[in-house]
Symmetry: C2
Subunit: 233 residues, 2 copies
DNA sequence: CCAAAAGTGTTAAGAGTACACCCATGC
DNA sequence: GCATGGGTGTACTCTTAACACTTTTGG
């Protein structure tokens, strides 16, 4: 029943979907341009084969840092893509990760074995290699869902951020208008933001107070079984 | 920087965490007894190497059917476990799946390359091979969470079930008491249960009406962006 | 003083929670 | 008629949702 052709010879890779938030309405995604076949010249998620002696998480982190200069503030496993025909060369099973960074804290560069590294707006992605468009769709869906029950969006903002930044970030990711007053009330009710003495003055209008997300307090609450939730935003 | 030792030679497997609900308070899990080393004689999740020409999902389904006789009603990818030292023989990356079945619809048997197949109460598991206890912990956590926002628990019940069965199932999985009246009101408010004309008469007490979960209606609502939710049950 | 963005409170409707008695059956 | 489990309603509290004006700054 088993022909030799069916014997296992499967490559294992990791791929990373890294989101960065630039400014109002601009959620971007980190892509690399391939300089080898197949899909040479096309854009793809950063990723590579997993080495024998490295854990999956370490493999993604290293790959990201070495090939693009990024160390994401948030990184978690997304889903594993393993259909038979995803790569024309070999059977490849890829463990995809979802990461969040504040791009202003990380300067990206292209490693020598990559043609280029660039941020792309999620609304204007180039044609992607392999099944990477599907992976990105899954990642976006997860991100949209997850910011509603876990306070992970802060990883996309500056350490000190204005409340309107958070509000715009949520609007951008969810793609809906939200009621400013109710949103603020809800977020504030969790008492997870520390107010700083600093103000953001930018363009016209009244300057805004800056806040810092209190990671320690959040971890504490999480252990007590607390759950963050923003209903339908 | 790369020694030959680091070159990739990784095996890819799938493992399945299959839950079955027997009766009040008895959530069980399907395990097989290994008859080869390592961990010979120990119990483990059903699983095996993925063949070159089969998708991951197909691999789990086939493995389950061939080795235990089960075709789960609900099956989804859980998480991928790939730490370096999970298997003493080789580097193995395992894509774990979470499945739900009604055990009375599936008679289990042990395939020839397996010592035995058995259901175990989740509260009384034997010592498990590899890192399978960790996989099970992740699966249980996911199940507890997921029944609160997706109506998947019905896959564990008979097609026609009494309301109290559902209630006990939730109590068993979540491990908390729930208010019968409020629970019923909430579930009924989704209008996803069709009442049948049949009654369940069993032991003493008033017979109970039997219901059927309306899959089609649920799929329809899901497409409209409907979300099922049972708050903290 | 005008434009722009930040900051703020109240009310009405809906959802969640707590709680106890009657009903239908078997023995 | 009693023991067992099934079936049901109401009042209170808390959360959500809708909604608009004042404040602070720069130009």
């Amino acid at each position: 029943m088993e022909s030799p052709k069916e014997l296992e010879d499967i490559k294992v890779t990791v791929d990373a979907v890294i989101f960065g938030y630039f400014k109002k309405n601009d959620l971007q995604l980190l892509l690399i341009q391939r300089n080898i076949k197949p899909f040479k010249g096309d854009w793809a998620l950063p990723g590579r084969l997993v080495l024998n002696n490295e854990n999956l998480d370490d493999a993604v982190k290293r790959e990201l840092y070495e090939k693009t200069g990024i160390r994401p503030d948030f990184l978690e496993q997304l889903y594993t893509f393993g259909n038979v025909d995803r790569d024309p060369r070999n059977r490849v099973v890829s463990i995809a990760y979802l990461g969040l960074v504040n791009p202003s804290y990380h300067k990206v560069f292209a490693d020598s074995d990559v043609e280029d590294v660039q941020w792309f707006s999620v609304n204007q992605l180039p044609k992607l290699a392999f099944d990477h468009q599907i992976i990105i769709d899954v990642a976006l869906k997860r991100l949209r869902k997850k910011i509603q029950y876990q306070p992970i969006a802060f990883n996309l903002l500056n350490e000190e951020f204005a409340f309107s930044d958070l509000e715009n970030l949520y609007k951008t990711i969810i793609g809906k208008e939200i009621d400013r007053r109710n949103f603020r009330k809800k977020i504030m009710s969790y008492e997870l933001l520390n107010e700083t003495n600093n103000l953001k003055k930018e363009g016209s209008g009244r300057p805004s107070k800056l806040f810092i997300f209190n990671q320690e307090k959040h971890r504490g609450l999480e252990e007590e079984g607390f759950y963050f939730e923003i209903k339908w935003v």
